[in-house]
């Protein structure tokens, strides 16, 4: 007999976890959904962000959330640079499918090996005090290490959504997503806009990385677990819709958490990928797609 308390706690914790997944997937929703750049290294950038935050908190005693403020601009520049290489080598030649994927796969792999060489395969974690504090509401627990990434991710999504819908550049990026040729005819530079958007997507990955460090200890290959989640969420969320991303992510978080509590944690990694395979097979346009 499953107690109601356990179920309620599992669902709440799943929602918190899912909210964080949305933060991880937000950047991929922009790069994959809007720009049509299949950056499978996106989760790897999240892990780089986590290690960046770890390094800053280790060296200068910064809180991971403060460290995120330093990680974000660096990642924006790195993202813009990666896009420039990608565009120059693949997109420009119209040869972006096979080699472009191999390029991002190589980036992911090299990054992972570099992290292993620099930090070893040990788990790294933050020593911030709140990481071990838990708020209680009745019998339902809200561990701050889950609540803070949830709220932080909500902030990431809200900021990205406001930027895309309310600013001139943001709307131009949405324009590129719809019709790059039309934009060029109107005198805008689609490559520049895509560079900005890709830079933002990587910057968001960096910010999500800092949140990941708050949520759980990180090790170099942890990003692989997120590949399935990120793409399952991006596809299920309807490719390019941030509110859709959030809903899909929370759904995945809840299902994953229920699975790991009622079937065992060793089954959890398969949930996201199973979810993804199922989505691709049954409803590739996503839950909210046309």
């Amino acid at each position: 007999m499953v107690s109601l308390d356990l179920l309620a706690n599992a669902i709440v914790s799943g929602v918190l976890l899912g909210g964080f997944y949305a933060g991880v997937a937000a950047g991929a929703t922009i790069s994959f959904g809007l720009l049509d750049v299949a950056n499978i290294a996106h989760p790897a950038f999240v892990v780089f962000g986590a290690y960046g935050a770890f390094l800053l908190s280790e060296r200068f005693g910064l809180d991971p959330l403060v460290a995120a403020l330093f990680v974000v601009p660096v990642f924006y520049v790195a993202g813009a640079a990666v896009y420039q290489v990608y565009h120059w080598a693949f997109e420009r030649r119209g040869d972006d499918s096979m080699r472009g994927l191999a390029f991002f796969f190589g980036l992911m792999f090299v990054g992972e090996v570099v992290l292993i060489l620099m930090f070893g395969v040990d788990y790294r974690y933050t020593s911030a005090a709140y990481a071990s504090t838990t708020l209680k509401l009745g019998s339902i627990a809200f561990p701050l290490r889950e609540l803070i990434p949830f709220l932080g991710s909500l902030a990431i999504l809200a900021a990205a959504q406001l930027f895309l819908n309310r600013t001139f550049i943001g709307r131009a990026i949405l324009g590129v997503a719809q019709d790059a040729t039309a934009l060029r005819l109107m005198g805008a530079d689609p490559v520049r806009l895509k560079r900005i958007a890709f830079g933002i997507s990587i910057a968001l990955a960096g910010a999500a990385g800092a949140l990941l460090l708050v949520l759980e200890p990180v090790e170099p290959s942890i990003g692989r677990e997120f590949i399935g989640r990120v793409f399952a969420i991006a596809v299920l969320g309807g490719m390019g819709s941030l509110p859709g991303t959030w809903i899909a992510a929370v759904m995945l978080g809840v299902i994953e958490n229920l699975t790991s509590i009622f079937a065992g944690a060793s089954w959890a990694p398969a949930v996201a990928f199973g979810f993804l395979l199922l989505t691709l097979a049954v409803r590739p346009s996503g839950l909210f797609g046309r």
């Binding site: 499978i40 080598a89 499918s97 792999f109 090996v113 596809v235 395979l277 691709l280 590739p284």
Partner: protein, 315 residues
């Protein structure tokens, strides 16, 4: 047909010469190193059938390899079968999984197939980790027979089998290139919509390619438990299989069979040297950097740089 037989004869001759040479060195280490290199020749060529000819990326090489390996493990728990039978069984299972994955995702854009293969690796690893019958997360021991008639040591026998498989894969690759099937593949790679519009049965051809490619990877995986003697999920599903099998064709060149063979031989031998002399992490770093360098700067690979991209001849 004549051309095909002549090519097959030449490959068999080369394989015999190679085996005799390894035999002549008289040191088992040559066989151990040679096995790994040959395994990569098979994996690289198998990957290239789908990746190079049709243009669809498979990131789940490790999944197909492990499928072959664990099919062997499961079979050996039921009945002791000779290794060639296990290889066939591994090939059938991996081929069917390839067919299934392809059927689910190949009607969508190529990127979804690529992501699905990544997903496949994780799902299968989770299943195997939770499947106690084949050792689960704790792993499983595979005891190899001490002595095999004719070959002497078991490792020589395994090298012989892998060499045979390599001959088959290379011959099949070449046969695809010179046949109508290869023309269809190239049409899909260059422009799938146009191919479909001109009557190329694209889905059917893509399914043939995924099945063949997956089956060869599974066959290459079946002897793996006996090679490592202790098999556990995280080593069987190691990402370095995927990286190597993608890097080798892309570095060698993807348009003709000798691209992946060249890439696998060069990179495979270099890795044997680097792993022994420096470290296996550095070795993987080099492979990753070479992969990025080649896809960005030399899209035709080595055979393109050497001007060997080869005009297609019709058989």
């Amino acid at each position: 047909m004549n051309d095909f037989l002549r090519f097959f004869g030449l490959v068999v001759l080369a394989a015999c010469a190679l085996f005799a040479a390894m035999r002549a060195v008289g040191n088992d280490y040559v066989f151990y190193a040679g096995y790994t290199v040959l395994e990569y020749v098979v994996l690289a060529c198998a990957w290239n059938i789908l990746g190079g000819y049709v243009g669809y990326v498979n990131f789940g090489v490790a999944a197909f390899l492990a499928l072959g390996a664990y099919t062997g493990v499961a079979l050996s728990k039921i009945a002791p079968l000779p290794l060639p039978v296990m290889m066939l069984a591994g090939g059938v299972v991996a081929g069917l999984v390839g067919l299934g994955t392809g059927y689910l995702t190949l009607r969508l854009r190529g990127i979804f197939f690529a992501i699905a293969t990544l997903a496949l690796a994780v799902v299968l690893q989770t299943l195997i980790t939770n499947w106690e019958f084949v050792g689960g997360s704790a792993g499983v021991y595979a005891i190899r027979p001490k002595h095999v008639p004719v070959f002497g040591s078991y490792i020589a026998y395994m090298v012989f089998l892998m060499l045979t498989l390599a001959v088959i894969v290379v011959t099949v690759s070449r046969a695809i290139e010179t046949s109508g099937l290869g023309l269809g593949f190239i049409a899909i790679r260059d422009d799938e919509v146009a191919a479909e519009a001109t009557g190329v049965p694209t889905l059917q051809l893509k399914l043939i390619a995924t099945t063949l490619s997956g089956a060869f990877m599974g066959m290459a995986g079946a002897p793996l438990p006996y090679y490592v003697t202790f098999l556990e999920p995280s080593s069987a599903f190691n990402l370095s299989y995927a990286v190597n099998s993608i890097a080798m064709p892309l570095i060698g060149g993807t348009t003709a069979w000798f691209g992946p063979v060249l890439g696998a031989l060069l990179l495979g031998i270099a890795q044997q040297v680097v792993t022994v002399t420096i470290s296996s992490e550095v070795n993987l770093l080099i492979v990753g950097l070479l992969l990025i360098g080649f896809v960005v700067l030399a899209p035709q690979g080595l055979i393109g740089m050497l001007g060997l991209t080869g005009r297609r001849r019709s058989g």
